[in-house]
């Protein structure tokens, strides 16, 4: 049995005296897609940000592809981890193409021309080749998020972390982003996703992890969790989430 791509061991994090992560451990195999679900405040986003040390954990280990994630090599490590933010965080002063290319020429040291060529291919991959010259403010939320995914892909990441990628989007715009994510999962990208998008979780996730109050309550394949969750908390949460989604669909 080969080493998992990502191993999280006993992660702890506290903010202002409150413990937000209380000993999280799990693995992610190469090519797997796992979705983290749970109520707000459960620590999901914090966990994600600990993986690339955007937030520094208090205790515990994170091992990526056999290398431990430590601060003294953090820039090199982050260059191999893709991160997609809830608020997109595209560089406002750069056009879409340069947003995707900047990592290549600033971090990887590519020359500008090659960086832009590669960036153009990534934009095409997410379906935005025709918007390469647009500034972020000229793009819709869904388009911005797709550019942000292209920006992550351009760095040839070993794994991509998604922090509630569709939560800031209007409902009509989520599908275009979710579709890109499904495609990536099909292509074998290793993905760790924090999301409320149950549709994506059901269809594309290899495993769903349910977190509450800083601990993992339950984990398992989607069909098992949705149909036959072991814990009452899990069932309650899933019912609330699915219920509200059903209402949205019913109303449309």
């Amino acid at each position: 049995m080969s080493e998992p791509l990502l191993r999280i061991e006993d992660l702890h994090k506290s903010y202002a005296g409150t413990e937000v992560l209380k000993g999280i451990s799990f693995d992610l195999e190469r090519g797997e897609t796992k979705v983290l679900i749970g109520p707000s405040g459960s620590g999901k986003s914090t966990l994600l940000r600990c993986v690339n040390h955007l937030t520094r954990p208090d205790r515990g280990r994170i091992v990526l592809d056999g290398d431990e994630v430590v601060d003294n090599r953090i820039n090199a490590i982050r260059a191999t981890i893709g991160f997609v933010f809830q608020d997109f965080n595209l560089f406002t002063h750069l056009r879409a193409l340069d947003n995707v290319a900047v990592g290549l020429w600033r971090v990887r040291g590519m020359d500008r021309r090659s960086a832009r060529e590669r960036a153009a291919r990534e934009l095409e991959r997410v379906g935005l080749a025709n918007r390469a010259e647009a500034y972020p403010a000229e793009l819709s939320g869904g388009q911005q998020q797709r550019v942000s995914i292209a920006r992550a892909l351009a760095m040839d990441p070993r794994i991509i972390l998604f922090d509630e990628p569709t939560s800031a989007l209007d409902p009509e715009l989520t599908e275009e982003v979710v579709e890109v994510m499904r495609q990536l999962a099909r292509e074998g990208m290793t993905m760790l996703v924090v999301s409320h998008e149950m549709g994506f979780a059901r269809s594309a996730a290899d495993e769903i992890i349910f977190m509450d109050h800083g601990v993992i309550v339950e984990e398992g394949p989607p069909e098992k969790l949705f149909r036959d969750a072991q814990h009452a908390r899990t069932r309650d949460f899933l019912r609330i989430i699915s219920g509200s989604h059903a209402q949205e669909e019913g109303a449309s």
Partner: protein, 222 residues
């Protein structure tokens, strides 16, 4: 001689004075820009031992009246080395402008959303690279509005260089008044008009620059 005769006659001198004022303005703004950016970056990203003296210097430069600063530089350096008054004015007003511009740049840098820094770090950029390529380019665009105000204020303050003998517009006007009798008001008003017009002109140029640099996503100030 009629007042119009006087003004026409003395026009070359007044324009010369105006030219010196503009030159002084350009020089002090450049000094202020370099200092201001430096102060701002140190105050936001620097270690404590650097932040404190920079902050103290900035406070001093902003809190002391311009005339006092002019005297300090002129007579202070003048004790050691005979500095021409123009140079002293550039140094004094430049330092002061640096203090004000540092405030502008600090505000501009802090108005860049924190998520920009996060995203830059997330793709593996180092802190300095992120500041240079992601934060500062955006901050400069945010700074243009307040910077135009600083431009206007400094142009008017060039008139204070009068007190250390720089022969800019105000001193030229004063010379004329001392030589001609009874035409004080028109000469002064004319000088005022020159200041006003050039100020307006400068502002409209900056406005157009703001237009040129406008990029969707950076709302221009109304």
């Amino acid at each position: 001689m009629s007042i119009y005769g006087v003004l026409l006659d003395q026009l070359p001198y007044l324009l010369q004075g105006l030219g010196i004022a503009v030159l002084l303005l350009m020089a002090l703004l450049v000094v202020g820009l370099v200092l201001g950016l430096f102060f701002a970056l140190v105050e936001i990203y620097g270690p404590l031992w650097a932040r404190l003296p920079v902050y103290a210097l900035e406070r001093f430069a902003r809190g002391v009246p311009a005339i006092i600063l002019l005297f300090l530089f002129y007579y202070g350096i003048g004790n050691v080395y005979a500095i021409p008054s123009f140079a002293a004015a550039v140094a004094a007003l430049g330092l002061r402008s640096g203090g004000y511009q540092s405030q502008i740049f600090r505000g501009a840098i802090q108005s860049v959303p924190y998520g920009q820094m996060l995203a830059a770090r997330a793709i593996g950029m180092g802190r300095m690279g992120a500041v240079a390529y992601i934060i500062v380019p955006q901050a400069l665009r945010h700074a243009i509005g307040p910077w135009s105000n600083e431009f206007s204020a400094e142009f008017k303050d060039t008139s204070l260089a009068y007190v250390i003998g720089v022969i800019e517009l105000t001193r030229q006007a004063h010379y004329i008044i001392s030589n001609q009798h009874g035409h004080t008001l028109p000469v002064l008003l004319f000088a005022a008009v020159l200041y006003f017009v050039v100020n307006r002109f400068g502002n409209s140029l900056l406005y157009r620059l703001e237009d040129r640099l406008e990029v969707p996503g950076f709302e221009r100030r109304s």
